[in-house]
Amino acid sequence: MREMIISELSQALHDIARGFAHFLPRFIVMLILAAVGWVIAYLIKVVLRSILRLVKFDKLSENAGASQLLTKAALPSATEMLSRFVFWVSWLGFILLGVSVLGILGLQEQVARFFVFLPRLFVAMFIMFFGLLAASFFSRAALLAAVNANVPSPRVLSLAVRSVIIVFVLSIVFEELGLAEETMLVAFGIGFGALMLGLAIAFGTGGRDLAQRFLEKKIVRRKDEENEDELSPL
């Protein structure tokens, strides 16, 4: 009995030692991969940061309105944010590669899924950035046009344009990421429909006087206005 226990114990110790002997090189490989990955990710970050500064990415981001959001959230500049993001994604990639070398069941599948997800994440970020850029450009264009046409509440008009574009872009981004696709589709449908219905009701009821004034201005008072506004800028 005693011998059996000692034998089992020594067998277990032997197994542990063998397992550890098997695991240790893999663990060292993982550590090496993580260290090498850190160096590569850091180099990528430095190079990317230089390129982004060269192409004045911060200015582009400012135009897109992304910089303002970052400032409000007390975050670093868009160039720094993107560089850091790429650094972490790259390093995480190497760490996960190292983890997969450990041969832990179940983890390998998750690592593979992460690498499949990466391109979609980048596409989503790309869509988000240019979507914000478009939203900023078109909302500013609407604001300027409304101010110069003397349209009442130009900022509301500009905000409406920005909101519609951002909602549209977000729905595309979520679809690209594959996150709650159905929920997003339904939410977008409801949100967009509600917005349009709201606008229709607002124009129908609230805009009645406006339409009347507009028609009066166009038809009845046109001659008076013509007499008053004949100043040529050139």
Partner: protein, 422 residues
């Protein structure tokens, strides 16, 4: 001759039939059937009166008119004019029309006319507006003689205007052009001007046609090219300026054509203007400028309210363009009561210079920068109206001169803003 490639075969054939000419009259059109007939008759009369012995051609560059404008131009014969003036031209006067595109573009029209002038080896050329209701036959001589006889390269017009007309010219384009380029040209942007074939060919070869500005304000770019090219420039008084087709509502397009063109020319012309201080008068035939004082109804309240609304609503846009001190000052005056409202010359000049520097740095879309200046210009226009409400012609001129000097005085401020953050 490289420019002939964009001309149609039919147009080239017509030009070859004409041969060489002494005088070329360029007439860009687009749906001008109402006025173009009388303009062409006046041009023909001007040629009969002033240049009966010279070979002349009218080149009509049409931007896809649907009202028969080109047919009207080519259909009017000079023979109809001769009996009424008892004059005979010793040469044939040709009228050629070409459709350069299906939509109008002053830049393409001008390029077509310049290419035709180069091909026909015209000695003196003149551009005329198809909308001028006040055009007289003498305008042709006044714009062509200095080139034909005195060797000038560019003749820009001066006009008799109401004191409140053309405020974008008097409050921005003229003073700023003068301060930048050092030459006092009253109408640097005008649809009527005379030019030599040398200047025409020189401008044709420049890279203004594909520089991303879509040829906006090509007339102004032409004048600036003449100044930077050290060409001989003079002014000629034509008479009353017509403003039938121009309204206050056209402010933004007018700003794109003038301010946009001026701002976009500043970058390539920087070596030419950065070292200039002060300004010199340009030789002028006739009056420098005449001012009409008759009463005119103007919607001043609208100008003032659009300025205030603009300053409030466009705050986020102005934060990208203006310095904090200028923006704060604008916000202060936007709150003033109508009677106290005053947009001082110094603040206006600083505003314009900061816009020019922001345009150069493209802090936001360049077209948005131009659009954002429109409400501020309305504020300045209001102040100009109030300052000159009871002013005599001399007072108005003095006020414009004062503004010009302010633009010249603050030029170092522009250079400072220009270099900042480069």
């Amino acid at each position: 001759m490289a420019e002939e490639s964009f001309l149609t075969d039919d147009f080239l054939r017509q030009l070859m039939n004409v041969g060489e000419v002494d005088i070329l009259v360029g007439l860009p059109t687009h749906n001008n059937a109402k006025t173009v007939g009388s303009v062409v008759q006046t041009i023909q009369s001007g040629i009969l009166h002033g240049f009966p012995r010279d070979r002349a051609v009218i080149i009509n560059a049409d931007g896809g008119s649907r009202d028969g404008t080109p047919e009207l131009v080519t259909g009017i014969s000079i023979d109809d004019m001769r009996p009424s003036f008892n004059l005979n031209s010793l040469r044939t006067l040709h009228s050629i029309s070409t459709k350069y595109a299906s939509s109008p573009s002053s830049s393409v029209a001008m390029r077509t006319i310049l290419a035709a002038a180069e091909l026909l080896r015209a000695k003196a050329c003149v551009m005329m507006s198809p909308e001028s209701a006040n055009i007289t036959p003498e305008w042709l001589s006044k714009l062509l003689r200095p080139i034909y006889n005195d060797g000038f390269d560019l003749v820009t017009p001066t006009y008799r205007r109401h004191k409140f007309e053309g405020q974008l010219i008097t409050n921005l384009v003229y003073p700023m052009t003068r301060a930048l380029y050092g030459l006092r040209i009253r109408e640097a942007y005008s649809p009527e001007f005379g030019f030599s074939s040398r200047l025409g060919s020189q401008f044709l070869a420049q890279n203004v046609w594909n520089d991303g500005t879509e040829g906006a304000g090509v007339e102004l770019r032409f004048t600036l090219a003449a100044i930077t090219g050290k060409c001989r420039i003079c002014q000629s008084f034509l008479g009353e300026k017509d403003s039938v087709e121009r309204r206050g509502a056209d402010l933004v397009p007018a700003m794109r054509q003038t301010v946009g063109a001026l701002f976009s020319a500043m970058e390539p012309d920087f070596p030419a203007w950065s070292g200039i201080a002060g300004s010199q008068p340009a030789p002028t035939t006739g009056a420098d400028q005449e001012v009409l004082l008759e009463p005119l109804r103007v919607n001043r309240k609208r100008l003032r309210s659009m300025f205030s609304t603009g300053v409030v609503e466009l705050e986020s846009v102005f934060q990208s363009i203006l310095s904090p001190s200028t923006l704060a000052e604008l916000q202060r005056i936007a709150l003033l009561r109508e009677d106290d409202f005053h947009y001082p010359a110094e603040l206006w000049v600083k505003t314009v210079y900061e816009f020019a520097a922001s345009y150069q740095k493209s802090v936001i879309s360049r077209d948005h920068i131009i659009q954002a200046l429109a409400p501020l210009f309305r504020g300045r226009a209001y102040t100009f109206l109030m300052e000159n409400r009871n002013a005599s012609a001399r007072d108005v001129e003095n006020n414009i001169e004062g503004l010009c000097l302010e633009f010249e005085r603050l030029k170092p401020y522009l250079l400072q803003m220009w270099e900042k953050g480069k």
